[in-house]
C-alpha cells in the first residue's frame, strides 16, 4: 500500500436547498459545509471541533456519502469516491463505518445483541457467526452474557461498545466517530476513549473524531481541525493547536475551557460574544468577523486565505503575521 493518506477531502461542499417562505420561488442554500479540505493518514485521528451548527457532523456524513456532496472531491485510498455509482461505492462504504452520539438509537431495540452484531456478518456470509460475534464482543470488552440481552437491558457505555463491535464486524479501515462519548458519563467516556485508542493501535484504524469537547480531543487525536460556519479556520497537530493557537477563534475556544485552579480564573479572558451567526445568512468576508475581537475593515470585505504558520499548521486569518 502507498504511504498516501487514507482519506483526502478537497474543497468539500454540502449545500442544503431551502425556500425562504412557503410561497417564494427563489431557492436559497444553507451552506453547511463550504470548501473543507483535509487529509487523514492511515492510523491517524483527525478531530473536527466546532460549535453546534458549524457543520462538523455534516462533514462526517458527507464523507461517508450519507449526504451527497454538492461539490468537491473525496478520495479513499487514493481512489476518487465522489462520483462512484452506488453499487460500486457500496464495497468501499463497508470500509467506512460511523459511530453515533446516541448509542441507544443506533441499536434496534427489538433485536438481541447477538442479532445486531450478526446482521452485517450474515450479509458478508461469514461462517460460525456465534463464535465471531463472541470474538467481537470480547474485543470491545463485553462477554458472552451480553449476547442474548437487548439494547435497553445494558448501560449506555455497553450500548456504545456494542455499536463499536458491530462496526468492527465488517473490518472497516475508517471510522467516523460522531461525538461518541458526549451522551455518556465522564467515567464511562474515559473507558470508551481508551477502547477506541487501543483498537486503533491494534488494527491501525483511521478516525475522524467529531467533538466539541476540547479535553477529549486533546486526549485522543493526532491532528485537529477547528470548524466555524462550514469552514475550517485552523488545522494542525494537537501540539500546534493547543500550544500555539493562531486563529482568534481557536484562542477563544481554548480559553473557554474551565480552569480548575480558582486563582487562575482571575486572569483576563477573551470571551466570545453572542451566538454563531445563522448559516442561512452567513457574514461576508471572514465568517468570524462579526464576533472577532481583532476584526478590521478588511475582514468583512475579503475572505482570508490559508496561511501556513508551521509545517502543516494552516490558519485562515488576515492577521496571523500581525498577531505574532
Amino acid at each position: 500500500m502507498t504511504d498516501g493518506p487514507l482519506i483526502r477531502v478537497e474543497n468539500l461542499k454540502k449545500y442544503f436547498p431551502f425556500k425562504e417562505s412557503l410561497f417564494s420561488r427563489k431557492v436559497k442554500y444553507l451552506k453547511a459545509v463550504d470548501g473543507v479540505s483535509f487529509s487523514i493518514k492511515k492510523g491517524e485521528t483527525l478531530a473536527l471541533v466546532g460549535e453546534t451548527g458549524s457543520g462538523k457532523t455534516t462533514t462526517g456524513r458527507t464523507i461517508m456519502r450519507l449526504y451527497e456532496p454538492t461539490g468537491g472531491k473525496i478520495y479513499f485510498e487514493g481512489k476518487k469516491i465522489t462520483k462512484l455509482p452506488k453499487k460500486k461505492f457500496q464495497k468501499i462504504r463497508m470500509q467506512m463505518q460511523m459511530i453515533y452520539q446516541d448509542p441507544y438509537s443506533s441499536l434496534n431495540p427489538r433485536m438481541s445483541i447477538l442479532n445486531i452484531i450478526a446482521e452485517p456478518l450474515r450479509q458478508l456470509k461469514v461462517e460460525n457467526i456465534e463464535d465471531r460475534v463472541l470474538e467481537l464482543l470480547e474485543s470491545v470488552g463485553l462477554s458472552k452474557e451480553h449476547m442474548y440481552k437487548y439494547p435497553d437491558e445494558i448501560s449506555g457505555g455497553q450500548q456504545q461498545r456494542v455499536a463499536i463491535a458491530r462496526a468492527l464486524a465488517v473490518n472497516p479501515k475508517f471510522l467516523v466517530l460522531d461525538e461518541p462519548t458526549s451522551a455518556l458519563d465522564v467515567s464511562v467516556q474515559a473507558q470508551i476513549l481508551n477502547l477506541l485508542e487501543n483498537l486503533q493501535k491494534d488494527k491501525n484504524f483511521t478516525y475522524l473524531f467529531i467533538s466539541h469537547d476540547l479535553s477529549v480531543v486533546r486526549y485522543i487525536s493526532h491532528r485537529v481541525a477547528i470548524m466555524y460556519l462550514g469552514k475550517v479556520m485552523e488545522i494542525g497537530t494537537v501540539e500546534q493547536i493547543f500550544e500555539n493557537p493562531q486563529h482568534p477563534y481557536t484562542r477563544i475556544l481554548l480559553e473557554s475551557v474551565p480552569i480548575p485552579d480558582p486563582k487562575d480564573r482571575r486572569r483576563k479572558k477573551l470571551v466570545l460574544p453572542g451566538e454563531i451567526p445563522s448559516p442561512l445568512n452567513p457574514p461576508s468576508g471572514c465568517p468570524f468577523h462579526t464576533r472577532c475581537p481583532f476584526a478590521k475593515d478588511i475582514c468583512s470585505e475579503k475572505e482570508p486565505d490559508y496561511v501556513e504558520v508551521e509545517n502543516g499548521h494552516l490558519v485562515k486569518c488576515h492577521f496571523v503575521e500581525v498577531m505574532k
Partner: protein
Amino acid sequence: MKKDEIIRVLKILIRNKLSLLGIIIILALIITALFAPFIAPYPNQAKGEPNPEEKLQPPSSKHWFGTDYMGRDVLSRVIYGARISLLVAVAVVSLGLLIGVPLGLLAGFKGGVVDAVVMRVTDIFLSFPPLLLALLISVTLGRGLENVIIALAVSWWPWYTRLIRGMAISIKEKPYVEVAKSMGISSWKIIGRHILPNAISPVIVQGTMDMGSAILEASALSFLGLGVQPPTADWGLMVSQGKDYLLNYWWYPTFPGLAIFITVLAFNLVGDVLREILDPRLRRRFL
C-alpha cells in the same frame, strides 16, 4: 429470558385490574363462541327454530334473558351471536391490517411518488364518514356477512396505512436503519427487520381497539338490515328487531345491546394495556 418476559407482563396486568377484566371477558367470549352448542340452553332456537307458545316471555329461570317475538330464548341467541361478532371483529381487522400495513410501510419507507400516491388514495377513502362508506359498499355488494366484512375492511385499512406510515417515516431516520443501509442490507430486509417490528406496536393497539368498533359497526349494518340475515342470531340484528318492543318487552333489545357494549369495552381495555406491554423501553423498569 422468556420467563422474565412473562413475569413482566403479569406484573403489568396485576397493576391494571380493569385491563385484566377486559382480557377475562374476551377469553370468556372466545370460549362461549367456540362451545356455543354446549353452553346455550336452546341451541335449536338459537339457530332459528320458532317457539310460538312462549312469545315475549320476561326473564325467568327457564329463559334467563327472556324470549323474543318468536318465542326463542334470548340468552341462547346472544351466545350464538358471539360467534358472528368475533368472526366479524377478527376478519375485519385482519383484512384491514393485511391491506393497510404493507402499503403504509412502503409509502413511509420509499417516500416520494409512492408515498404521494398511496396517501392520496387513503385521503379519498378517509374523506367519507366511515360508516357511510361501509354502508355504500355494503349496499353495492348486497346483503350477507361476507359483504359486511369486505365493506368494513375496505373502509378501515386507510387508518392503519396512515398510522404505520408515520411510524415508518420516523424510524427510517434512526441511526440503526442508516447503519443497516450502509452495510448493504436490502430494502426488504430493512423493512422487515428494522422498520416493521418497531412500527407495529401502535397498530396492534389500534387494531385491538378497532375490534370493538368493528363489532359495533357490523351491528349497525345489521341493524339497518344489510348484514347477517334472519334467522341467524346476531347482536345488531337482535337490537334492530327488538327496538320496537323496547317499551313493553325491555329484555329483548337490552341483552344483545349489553353484549355489544361489554365486548366493545373489553377490547378497548385490552388495547390500553397492550400499549404498555409492547413498549420495549418499559421492559427493564418492571424486572
